[in-house]
């Protein structure tokens, strides 16, 4: 088989699906290479999309024209906006998916996509000519000639599964790993590392005693992920909460001598934000119970995912510890929990386009870059697909900055921060958190999405209409004053102090308890605004001062981002900076001074020196020679 493609995507997970769809939709001849067509879009771990900060990512993917939001809208069985009791900046949508339906929908999207071939095989090697990728080599020694290859290998690179002291080569439960690719990349000069992640057991839904667990109902009607989806009430399933107890903890402790983690069999570093249950019990010994979330996997799927009980302890311990949990006394295990260790490539080796620095035309996305999570993977897949396409089409690359999107924060962090554990998005990672809400992802990014050409025009127009409504609302807020007579009954209701003279609406909104929607109502203004529009205007008005302060910081940030550092800048000529800073700078090769400032381990005083050298570089266009430096 000898074929020519523009873009080849290796891996059919959440990153691969987005990358392949994006490239194909942009008109490029694309191939998706996957070990098994039936596992395209598979949810390997948690049957859920979104969650704190991750929900933001999904909505951003949607605003750029990606697929994930639509897939979950189609197949969700339990939708909920998280953090609803807190401020709108950290509200985040999350949904349980029907695991099988989700994967099926992803397969349909991929298989029905024009310009996109799906090839059942695995990529085991590359063909490279003078630093430029020329082809992907498949396991049957077939060769796919291509101009770009996006590697989205998930946990499959030399994947190894651990359950107790047993371990075997596997990319995911019941699936073979990919061997040889890591080694080939290392031969090409890439640096590889090892990470670990884990997954909990699945139990049969009919074996749970629901009288002993607490029900968690979904939002109905749900808030959809995609800005294009209109969703009414729908039939959903509840989740349930159970709690471990001391008995269960004691049983877990007895298994530590057969734990692959505690006996040192696993060397890869696992995520601290998603510890195994044995880790929680050991590290937080004073806690007498831990929460478990029983998450359904579909209407017709009897499996229930025991979220919070990730473990790699031996089978007998898993079963006994689980059955010690009230409500799970008779739990029937369908699948055991396990830990998986896999190769990744520390992500200082990629550029902001996700293209590798070593090999032109080679892109990395997803867990291969050290991240964890479907949403993080999908976001990278989308950006890698877009940028691979942009390069082939000879168009400008698409790089989102930290003030624009969580996707920007994600990729920038990957490049600049030293990744010691699987990277997950948190809202606290975004320094401009106030500006990056989930509900304004359309306002923030649809211009970009539409310029790229992935976003349907109907979606773009919808956003423009929303903007008009928002402007109208701002006008009302700016031009309405509220009389005490009108306000004070409402104030009484809220239990806040009354007013004794007419006060502009704008000012009243600044009181924490006051809601815009209520002010519209009491002042007799026509409503009929969408919830997102109200949220936006209320938020922007209420926190005006804080937001403008953050906007000032964005301006400063942008200024530094525009102070470019040439790709061939020779850091070895700057003797007056510390060797640690120099090493980091040479490794990462920041594109701007702003980026240089964010690199872990680079000192600020060294940045000042760097600035001076840059200025010199630009003026002379020459390298700074060692001899000219005064020490």
């Amino acid at each position: 088989m000898k074929k020519m493609y523009d873009v080849v995507v290796a891996g059919g997970g959440h990153a691969g699906v987005e990358a392949a769809l994006a490239a194909a939709r942009l008109g490029l001849k694309t191939a998706l290479v996957t070990l098994n067509i039936n596992t395209i879009g598979k949810m390997s771990c948690n049957p859920a999309i979104g969650g704190l900060a991750k929900g933001h990512l999904v909505r951003e993917i949607d605003a750029l024209g990606g697929e994930m939001a639509k897939l979950i809208d189609k197949t969700g069985i339990h939708f909920k906006i998280l953090n609803k009791s807190k401020g709108p900046a950290v509200w985040s949508p999350r949904a349980q998916a029907d695991r099988n339906a989700y994967s099926k929908s992803a397969q349909e999207a991929v298989l029905n996509q024009e310009n996109l071939d799906v090839i059942q095989a695995s990529v085991t090697g590359l063909e490279i000519n003078s630093g430029r990728l020329e082809a992907a080599v498949l396991d049957q020694s077939n060769i796919l000639h291509c101009r770009a290859l996006v590697l989205t290998c998930g946990t499959f690179l030399n994947g190894r599964i651990f359950i107790g002291l047993n371990s075997f080569s596997s990319g995911r439960a019941g699936e073979l790993p990919v061997r040889g690719l890591t080694e080939e990349l290392v031969d090409l000069g890439f640096q590889a590392g090892r990470l670990k992640t884990g997954t909990p057991p699945r139990i049969h839904r009919d074996s749970i005693d629901y009288s002993k667990v607490e029900e968690q109902a979904p939002d109905n009607p749900p808030v959809p992920f995609s800005f294009q989806t209109v969703m009414g009430e729908r039939k959903q399933l509840s989740c349930h909460i159970a709690h471990t107890n001391q008995n269960s903890h004691d049983i877990l402790m007895t298994g530590l001598d057969r734990s692959p983690m505690y006996t040192g069999m696993i060397t890869g570093v696992g995520p601290r934000y998603c510890p195994s249950i044995e880790d929680k019990v050991v590290r937080f010994a004073d806690k007498t119970q831990h929460q478990l979330f029983l998450e359904p996997e579909g209407f017709d799927n009897p499996e229930v995912y025991v979220n919070g009980f990730s473990t790699s302890l031996p089978e007998d311990v898993q079963i006994r510890a689980l059955r010690a949990v009230p409500g799970l006394e008779n739990a029937r295990l369908i699948r055991l929990g396990y830990a998986v260790e896999y190769d990744f490539f520390p992500s200082f080796q990629i550029k902001h386009t996700l293209e590798t620095k070593n090999v032109e035309g080679l892109y990395f996305a997803g867990q291969i870059n050290g991240t964890s999570g479907y949403e993080e993977a999908a976001a990278q897949g989308l950006m890698a697909g877009i940028n691979a396409a942009m390069k082939i089409l000879d168009r400008e690359s698409v790089i989102l900055d930290r003030s624009q999107a969580y996707i920007g924060v994600l990729i920038d962090d990957l490049i600049n921060k030293t990744i010691l554990e699987p990277y997950r998005m948190f809202t606290s990672r975004a320094e401009f958190r106030l500006l990056l809400r989930h509900d304004n992802a359309d306002l923030r990014l649809m211009d970009v999405g539409s310029r790229i050409g992935l976003l349907p025009s109907s979606s773009y127009e919808k956003m423009l209409k929303k903007k008009e409504q928002i402007d109208r609302l701002f006008e009302i807020v700016d031009n309405t004053s509220i009389h005490p007579q009108v306000f004070n009954d409402y104030a009484k209701e809220l239990g806040v102090s009354p007013i004794n003279q007419t006060i502009p609406m704008r000012q009243l909104i600044k009181r924490p308890e006051v809601k815009l929607v209520d002010l519209l109502r009491i002042s007799g203004q026509p409503n009929g605004y969408h919830g997102d529009e109200l949220v936006h205007v209320e938020f922007m008005t209420k926190y005006e001062g804080y937001i403008s302060r953050q906007e000032e910081l964005v301006e400063k940030f942008k200024k530094m981002e525009h102070k470019e550092i040439p790709g061939d800048f020779d850091y070895s000529t700057i003797q007056s900076i510390s060797s640690e800073s120099r090493e980091k700078l040479m490794q990462i090769r920041p594109a701007s001074l702003g980026q240089a400032m964010r690199i872990s381990g680079v000192r600020h005083s060294d940045i000042t020196v760097l600035m001076i050298y840059l200025e010199k570089y630009f003026r002379r266009g020459l390298d700074v020679s060692r001899e000219t430096i005064l020490e």
Partner: protein, 463 residues
């Protein structure tokens, strides 16, 4: 520091600290002319490029002379940095330098970072290439040195204190961030009242630290002690008794016919300016009036008052008026009552009468220098008691640190006010992040990784 900012006006001492006749304080930026015009006795206009002025720098708040200086003005771009630059040459005395800089910082200027003038010069294309090479080397070395220097300056205790405050801020922020980022089920992570108590406690600590700066200033700049008393009560003898030991200079300061006399001494390392006033008494004599007015001005700016009475005679009207005055200033200014002329005996009742005021009392004989040491001791303890820093082990002496603390304080106050009204936690977090940012300017930045480490270390996270 998060971002470099070349827009604002910066100030710093440009000559090395240490012994020398003259020190140069340099300002650069848009605002330097308006700022200097507010505190300098001469009016400099934009047309005065490259001109030099001799005049006085005054403290705007206290309306007092800080130093006589020479000010040079360079209009941008024809200046070292390419921006408007003003150089103030003052006497090389740490206290004077610090006071002038603090005066400037009251306006919209901030302390320059190490190498920042040169940095600006560079970016404004003011420096040629060979200079740039040299500067790069120098800055490289200088920042290293100044780093270790400032680390030294932050003697163990201060940096430890600030580290404690920083850690507590991280702890509070962690509680909020945990709630924002990891608490999908709305479990109560913290009690608002607990957060409030801890924030207030921290605010008090920051405030105390800032207050030590005033004490630090006291240590450096010294205090003003005013001796009050009717004529012939022995003010001058007391002054001489103080000064003799110190071998200080007594100078006559002309101005009115009723001169007041000033001298300098030292108590336990604290420099003290002693002023012998013309006495507080009602007078119709216009010349004397002037002198009295001057005395009242002195009293208003005093850190401590010594009220002198005669030990051997009953209180007369002058004494009583002064007593009234002293009790009026109570709580604002420390005061010690001195019964002079103990060598002439004790009038029964005077002591009793004065005791009622509940102020420290001591009997001395200025003439025979009796009990002067005890008086000094009293002065010292009362001064420190009133400044509220007697127990503080840590003293902030650097105005850059003080400014950083002041900014931290501002954010902390914002946090407390926002917490009070149940403001959105995202806003609360941003206030605490600002606190960290300001404190970071003293002992180094806090990164998201530091914060996450703290969170993962303390909380059991993860479904």
């Amino acid at each position: 520091m998060k971002y470099l900012d070349n827009e604002d006006t910066i100030v710093a001492l440009s000559t090395p600290l240490g012994k020398g006749a003259i020190a140069i304080i340099r300002l650069s930026g848009k605002e330097c002319l308006p700022i200097v015009n507010q505190i300098f006795s001469n009016e400099i206009s934009a047309a005065d490029h490259k001109r030099v002025f001799f005049g006085a720098i005054n403290s705007l708040n206290e309306n007092k002379l800080i130093d006589q200086v020479v000010v040079s003005y360079f209009r941008g771009p024809s200046s070292y940095t390419g921006e408007d630059v003003i150089e103030i040459s003052c006497h090389c005395n740490v206290l004077i330098i610090d006071q002038i800089i603090r005066e400037i910082l009251h306006f919209s200027a901030r302390m320059a970072n190490p190498g920042e003038f040169t940095e600006r010069a560079f970016f404004n294309h003011k420096m040629d290439l060979s200079q740039a090479e040299a500067v790069a080397g120098i800055i490289g070395a200088k920042t290293q040195r100044s780093l270790s220097q400032s680390l030294k300056q932050l003697d163990g205790k201060l940096s430890q204190k600030i580290r404690e405050i920083k850690q507590e801020t991280i702890n509070l922020l962690s509680l909020i961030e945990v709630n924002l980022d990891f608490n999908e089920e709305d479990i109560q992570v913290y009690e608002k009242s607990d957060l409030m108590t801890r924030a207030r406690k921290m605010a008090t600590e920051v405030e105390n630290l800032m207050r030590t700066y005033e004490y630090g200033k006291l240590l450096g700049e010294g205090i003003k002690m005013v001796i009050l008393g009717k004529p012939n009560v022995g003010k001058s003898s007391l002054l001489n008794a103080f000064l003799e030991k110190e071998r200080a200079i007594v100078s006559d300061i002309p101005g009115t016919t009723r001169d007041y006399i000033e001298g300098r001494m030292e108590i336990d390392g604290i420099p003290v300016q002693v002023v012998d006033t013309a006495g507080v008494r009602q007078t119709m004599d216009p010349v004397e009036e002037l002198g009295v007015k001057k005395a009242v001005e002195h009293i208003d700016s005093a850190d401590i008052l010594l009220a002198l009475f005669e030990s051997h005679s009953a209180l007369d009207n002058d004494d009583k008026r002064m007593l009234e005055y002293v009790s009026q200033t109570r709580g604002k200014v420390a005061a010690v009552l001195v019964l002079n002329k103990t060598d002439l005996g004790e009038h029964p009742g005077v002591f009793e009468q004065l005791k009622k005021l509940d102020l420290p009392i001591v009997g001395v004989s200025a003439k025979f220098e009796e009990n002067i040491d005890k008086l000094r001791e009293l002065i010292k303890t009362n001064l420190l008691k009133d400044s509220g820093v007697e127990d503080e082990e840590v003293v902030v002496i650097n105005s850059r640190h003080k400014n950083a603390l002041a900014r931290a304080m501002e954010s902390l106050k914002g946090f407390i006010a926002d917490l009070e009204v149940d403001m959105d936690e995202v806003i609360l977090a941003s206030e605490l992040r600002n606190v960290l940012d300001s404190i970071g300017q003293i002992i180094g930045e806090t990164t998201t990784e530091d914060l996450l480490n703290n969170i993962f270390g303390q909380f059991c996270i993860g479904k």
